[in-house]
């Protein structure tokens, strides 16, 4: 199946880290046009008309988010979120390492659109190579006068500061990210106030994902109608999907939203290894519920996945075949969220640890029958009562696989020699 490439165009064929190559492809022309010809408000309009939704996880309409900024004459900030660490997601790292100028141009357009003069790029600490690549690209952009004072003879000046994280998934959550940018522990803040009202240094701030911003130059070039015409009415445009797990061709694929999941798994990612049977797919990162055979004809878009009780999230699809031990898969994800909990909320901190220990005990053959119910019960009780969505992220996958494959979980507690006498 032939897919049109937008953000991923040229990756693997051209050296897009070189600013000359990027410019030959039309790079930075849209930022120049924006500053020279377009009012910031016009770009906000274009973003809204395109239907572009956040690609970082929540899927919030980007134009709408920008419109929330108050007109109070205070400084504003644009923050690009490249803290990618959601299990299964590896699209932002690819964009960072292979097409950094596209990200810079997207950040600059977004920054100009919201009337800001200072943007920050937050890069996950583990992405050392990506950080170095981005820094080199930024130097080139600075030397070519795309970043700095009085751009293109106008009175618009912009600064872009790169900030490296240091190993904490929770810093991907936007308010935790802002705390981390302020030199603090990466603990999420209570919302409201939302960052658009009170963000970095207490000023109005927009946080956008790398992929979200990356689409801006293309939307400016081809028009919002083009983007809005792709996908479904509510999930417009393209999305990079990170395909991993039991597929023959794992990798990043840029698809028009709404493509049936069956096409995604079998045609695009090459299907399952020979002789294996499809058991499930986690379609939107570690926080999404597992979907099954009967869901494969659903479209890969925000509404369809939410309608099936899961979500599109960050666009990371992990495919499970019949060799999967779902207890181990659930244990890995629960351990992840327990490990990455910032510890502020009791349900998230204690619940995650408790579930991890219970699963670990089961895996070591010391489970009791009531454990299986307890997994569902604890994960459900800890949901909806936390400061940030991380604490609500364990239940979807755990509950969905316990419900679907109870025999796999009971297999770890039923054998006589493993029952623990209470």
């Amino acid at each position: 199946m032939q897919l049109e490439k937008i953000l991923t165009a040229g990756i693997g064929e051209l050296d897009l880290c070189d600013i000359a190559v990027y410019r030959e492809q039309g790079g930075y022309a849209q930022f120049e046009r924006a500053v020279k010809e377009l009012q910031p408000a016009a770009i906000v309009d274009i973003a809204a008309k395109s239907g572009l939704r956040g690609r970082g996880g929540a899927g919030f309409p980007t134009g709408r988010k920008w419109q929330f900024l108050p007109n109070n004459g205070r400084p504003r900030y644009m923050v690009c979120n490249c803290d990618e660490a959601e299990p299964g997601t590896f699209k932002d790292r690819m964009l960072l390492e292979y097409t950094p100028h596209q990200i810079i141009e997207g950040i600059l357009i977004g920054t100009y659109a919201i009337g800001s003069r200072h943007a920050y790029m937050y890069i996950r600490g583990e992405f050392k190579r990506g950080y170095e690549t981005f820094m080199k690209a930024l130097e080139q952009a600075r030397a070519a006068d795309y970043v700095g004072e009085r751009l293109f003879g106008s009175d618009y000046s912009v600064e872009l500061t790169v900030h490296r994280g240091a190993g904490a998934y929770i810093c991907g959550e936007e308010t935790a990210l802002l705390n981390s940018l302020e030199g603090k522990r990466g603990e999420p803040r209570l919302k409201p106030p939302f960052p658009a009202i009170k963000g970095l240094y207490g000023e109005p701030t927009v946080v956008n994902n790398v992929e979200t911003l990356g689409y801006l130059p293309h939307i400016l070039r081809r028009g919002p109608e083009w983007f809005a015409g792709v996908g479904t009415p509510k999930s417009t445009g393209y999305k990079i999907v990170s395909m991993s797990g039991h597929v023959q061709k794992p990798g990043n694929y840029e698809i028009p939203l709404g493509l049936p999941m069956r096409t995604l798994v079998y045609d695009i990612a090459g299907g399952l290894p020979p002789g294996r049977k499809f058991m499930g797919i986690q379609p939107g990162g570690g926080s999404s519920a597992c979907l099954f055979e009967e869901h494969l004809d659903l479209g890969y878009d925000y509404e369809a996945l939410a309608g099936a009780g899961s979500m599109l999230g960050s666009g990371a699809a992990v495919v499970f075949d019949d060799t999967t031990d779902f207890v181990k898969a659930a244990h890995s994800l629960v351990r992840f969220f327990a490990h990455e909990s910032c510890g502020q909320c009791t349900p998230c901190r204690e619940g995650g640890n408790w579930l991890e220990m219970t699963l670990e005990r089961m895996l070591h053959g010391r489970g009791v029958e009531s454990d299986v119910d307890m997994l569902v019960d604890v994960s459900h009780s800890m949901t909806g009562i936390n400061l940030c969505p991380l604490g609500d992220s364990i239940e979807p996958f755990l509950a969905s696989v316990v419900k679907r494959f109870p025999e796999q979980f009971y297999a770890y507690v039923r054998t006589p020699q493993t029952a623990v006498a209470v």
Binding site: A166, A329, C342, R361
Partner: protein, 267 residues
């Protein structure tokens, strides 16, 4: 910005009163100072420069020493406790020395379902150490980490933050051999102090959770099998009513009133 002087760096980790040690560290600060000042100037607020400056010190020393924490506190003018609290939040800052090679295989779900457990067991066996430990010769540190955003090349890992893909037991043996022989393409980490068994500083239980303390998972079961759980079960056996006694709103109000009444009587 406060003035940083050599005399301020009394290293309580690497020989308290060692003058040579102190001088060596003062030289590091002088070396890093211009870069630190440039970084601080990038931000509206100096404290924002904390993570970048910690990275600079860690690059220079291989870890974030107590002396480095103090230097950071002075450079951005915040209390030392603030720097310690912040640094301890982030797993990539090592507050004790680590090995020349930081081996970090991924234990994320996409790697696990593609057999990463076998490679992790292989690492443990070949290195003779476990999760969060360093070999006696100070060459290898080992930590099983969360998803590294390279799930299409599972099982994968990072070595000194460089990616290594498609791990097999054979490729691991070859890699470890090259590392021991000094022919590995991945540069060794700076090591200014000898590592210990682990670089992790934590409360005894090794868990964030207070509820998890004294429960030595996995062999001493938590949950229903632990001591407090057993005690509770015994109480329930004696008094099944306990099962029904959920913390209802009415009960909370009643208990609250009782406490208040008690207080009132005292005064």
């Amino acid at each position: 910005m406060s003035d940083v002087r050599a005399a301020d760096y009394v290293g309580f980790e690497t020989g308290t009163d060692d003058a040579a040690e102190r001088e060596r560290f003062a030289a590091i600060v002088e070396h890093l100072r211009p870069e630190c000042e440039r970084v601080i100037a990038q931000y509206e607020d100096a404290r924002s420069a904390l993570l970048p400056i910690l990275h600079l010190f860690q690059n220079e020393q291989g870890w974030v020493s107590p002396a480095a924490l103090r230097a950071c506190a002075q450079l951005i003018d915040v209390p030392l406790s603030v720097v310690e609290s912040t640094a301890s939040f982030y797993t990539l800052f090592f507050r004790r020395p680590v090995g020349r090679y930081m081996l970090q295989p991924c234990r994320g779900v996409a790697c696990i379902i593609r057999g990463a457990e076998e490679q992790m067991a292989h690492f443990r066996e070949r290195l003779g150490i476990g999760h969060l430990e360093t070999t006696d010769d100070g060459l290898f540190s080992y930590e099983e980490v969360e998803c590294l955003a390279a799930c299409d090349r599972a099982p994968c890992m990072q070595v000194n933050l460089e990616f290594v893909y498609d791990l097999t037991n054979e490729s691991i043996d070859a890699m470890l051999g090259e590392m021991r022989a000094g022919t590995c393409a991945i540069a060794r980490r700076t090591q200014t102090s000898p590592p210990r068994r682990t670089w992790i500083i934590q409360q005894d239980s090794g868990k964030k959770s207070a509820g998890a303390q004294d429960v030595l998972s996995p062999d001493d079961p938590g949950g229903i099998g632990d001591r407090s759980g057993k005690d509770m079960l015994r109480r329930i056996e004696r008094d099944p009513e306990l099962l029904l006694a959920r913390p209802t709103r009415e009960r909370l109000v009643r208990d609250g009133v009782a406490i208040l009444d008690g207080e009132a009587e005292k005064h």
